[in-house]
């Protein structure tokens, strides 16, 4: 267990759903039976389309969503935290150690607070610092690490561009000295020229501050560039998982293959090579039985056997896991 920071064991998250007050209560299976281990100091990527359960899983790991079954263990230096069995005191401690960076830097920052107050707020709420002087010191320290000018601290968020705002959000997430960061689509709202800057900053902070990331994104080329390990999600299930180079060079699952081929190539001579997926992601209210990707699979009938094959990952190469329906 020594080198893992997070162990996610058989985690499922369900939501109750009722269309109107007379209809039957149903369950939405947002996340199903997920097992992942996130190593200390790694950049773990989670990719998939909207509705695949990436964000729900990320929030479950942070303790922000109720976990319906299974458990999440955070291995700290001194002790382990079990997220499904935590009292208020533990949760407070955990919050200092696990933080979140949001997608939209325009919505995530309060327009009425100065940058200094935004970054200092976690310190005050979590009662980490004892004096204003100490707070200011930590704010200034983390701001300079995130390449913000000291003069910027007195200004309000409206004075900043998207890239600078995202740096403010990162500073706020890092000020409590966390070990684990969930970055949920943190570069999706940025222009390409700025996106590269933020990705480089995240990488640099990782080595400087010894961070472990769970990086949630729908953009495969970004994930391929920054992540060490990648898990591909579809309709609440992980369909393929492995070291990112291996996975992108040698994808096994037909969903991963289709996703990779859908990235528009920058080369105008390589047009329409995409394996086009028919239709859209099915509703999580009644997912197809057996392999969830069956309804859109470009080569069905391989041996899906009409949904008789249950979902389950098989190790095809060391560390490279593929759902058994496609692996067989």
């Amino acid at each position: 267990m020594g080198d893992n920071l997070i162990s996610v064991n058989n985690v499922s998250v369900n939501f109750d759903y009722q269309e109107n007050f007379i209809s039957k209560k149903q369950k939405i299976h947002a996340v199903n039976n997920i097992n992942i281990k996130i190593k200390k100091g790694s950049f773990f990527g989670l990719v998939g389309e909207s509705g695949s359960g990436k964000t729900t899983l990320g929030r479950a790991i942070l303790g922000a969503n109720k976990i319906s079954s299974g458990n999440v263990i955070f291995h700290d230096d001194e002790r382990d935290y079990d997220l499904t069995d935590m009292n208020k005191q533990d949760l407070k401690e955990y919050r200092k150690k696990a933080q979140l960076i949001f997608q939209d830097p325009y919505a995530a920052l309060s327009p009425r607070m100065t940058v200094r107050d935004i970054i200092a707020e976690p310190l005050e709420v979590m009662k980490i610092t004892n004096s204003r002087q100490e707070t200011d010191e930590r704010v200034r320290d983390i701001a300079s690490k995130c390449r913000l000018n000291i003069e910027h601290l007195r200004r309000f968020p409206h004075a900043f561009s998207g890239g600078q705002r995202q740096r403010i959000s990162i500073a706020r997430a890092l000020v409590s000295n966390p070990k684990f960061i969930v970055a949920d689509e943190s570069v999706a709202a940025l222009d390409v020229s700025i996106q590269a800057d933020i990705l480089n900053l995240l990488k640099q902070l990782q080595t400087e501050l010894n961070l472990t990331y769970l990086f949630i994104s729908h953009d495969l080329s970004v994930v391929a560039h920054v992540c060490d390990v990648v898990a591909v999600m579809y309709l609440g299930h992980i369909v393929e998982m492995g070291p990112s180079r291996e996975l992108f060079k040698n994808p096994k699952h037909s969903y991963t293959k289709a996703l990779l081929s859908s990235i528009p190539s920058i080369d105008p001579e390589k047009r329409s090579e995409a394996i086009e997926l028919k239709g859209e992601i099915p509703s999580a209210l009644n997912p197809p039985p057996g392999c969830v990707f069956r309804t859109r699979c470009p080569n069905p009938g391989v041996d899906c056997k009409g949904g008789e094959i249950k979902m389950g990952l098989i190790e095809v190469e060391p560390g490279h896991w593929v759902d058994q329906c496609c692996a067989l």
Binding site: S161, V192, S193, V222, H225, R245, L260, P264, S265, P268
Partner: protein
């Protein structure tokens, strides 16, 4: 040969409380029938403003320069003032698809009713005919159960389907020019691939001209015939898509290409373009890109070189300051 659309020396300025903002300066573009012109650039580069000028959709505080011309089908759109004339371009000869289809459909009116309404305005037909045209168009863009969807509201459709419905609506009046403003940005990659293929098929089938606005160079490579790269309201480079992406001359175009993570070359470092796009309130004089340009061409840095496109290869135009900087890097 006359083009379907020709924009000549267009400036667009907005009067705001903080002063006059130059959103677009001295832009010249042309689109032929059956051709896709891609416009790329970061947010704030004036892509959408340029497109909206063609339909005169910019807000009341907009002013255009007097010698600008937007010639569509041999008529200068900028001279249009009467409702009758504007109706011809808005939804008649020109249609627009927007980024966020949820925001473009009225939420409380059925999709079918919205499609029929615009057909009745632009075509001399009755309701029954409009309904059958609409349903056929919905089928054409690949919506299953078109009759059922016709009677549904926008919120009942998924993102990809809404964008298809939007395309169906834009095409049902048979426009000569289609303006597509980031039509795939809000979609997942798999759905994006479907929508791109659909748009390409439709262009072939109806032989319309298209202006395709996006910030994604990959999408541009897939759909466009010609590309114009915009930065802070100016076109810094334009030409055939192959030329621009394989043989870029301007440091900004090069910077955009280097900042893009390439899945086929994972060892390449991601190199951001330094700095931020300046506020249009203090637009640099001379070359607009000089405040972020990584190659310090001394003259260009002082802002002494005016913006002017020069033809470096047949059809490939680059800003004159950018040519010099481009040679240094």
């Amino acid at each position: 040969m006359s083009h379907l659309l020709e924009v000549k020396n267009l400036d667009v300025k907005f009067d705001t409380d903080e002063g006059r903002i130059t959103a677009v300066e001295n832009i010249s573009l042309s689109v032929d029938q059956g051709e896709v012109l891609g416009i790329v650039g970061e947010s704030g580069s004036g892509k959408s403003v340029t497109a909206k000028s063609i339909m005169k959709l910019n807000p009341g505080n907009t002013s255009y320069n007097e010698d600008a011309e937007i010639i569509l089908d041999n008529e200068n759109v900028l001279q249009f003032t009467s409702k009758q004339d504007l109706k011809k371009i808005r939804g008649g000869k020109v249609s627009m698809i927007f980024q966020e289809p949820m925001a473009s459909f009225a939420p409380a009116i059925k999709i079918g009713a919205q499609m029929v309404e615009q057909l009745l305005i632009h075509k001399n037909i009755n309701k029954e005919e409009a309904k059958s045209i609409s349903i056929n168009m919905l089928k054409r863009v690949g919506i299953a159960d078109a009759e059922k969807r016709f009677n549904q509201y926008a919120f009942e459709l998924s993102g990809g389907m809404r964008q298809r419905a939007m395309i169906a609506m834009a095409l049902s009046t048979m426009p000569k020019l289609l303006l597509a403003d980031e039509p795939t940005t809000a979609l997942d990659v798999t759905i994006q691939a479907q929508v791109i293929n659909l748009i390409k098929d439709i262009i072939k089938e109806y032989q319309m001209g298209v202006i395709f606005i996006t910030h994604d160079l990959g999408v541009i490579a897939q759909v466009a015939d010609h590309v114009a790269v915009m930065y802070l309201g100016s076109v810094v480079e334009k030409g055939p898509v192959n030329e621009i992406l394989k043989n870029p001359k301007h440091p900004y175009t090069k910077g955009l290409l280097q900042a893009l993570p390439d899945i086929n070359n994972l060892d390449a470092p991601l190199s951001p373009i330094p700095g931020n796009i300046p506020s249009p309130l203090d637009r640099p004089t001379g070359c607009v890109f000089r405040t972020r340009c990584p190659h310090h061409n001394p003259e260009g840095k002082d802002g002494k070189i005016e913006m002017k496109l020069i033809e470096v290869e047949p059809g490939h135009w680059v800003d004159q300051c950018g040519i010099k900087c481009g040679q240094n890097g």
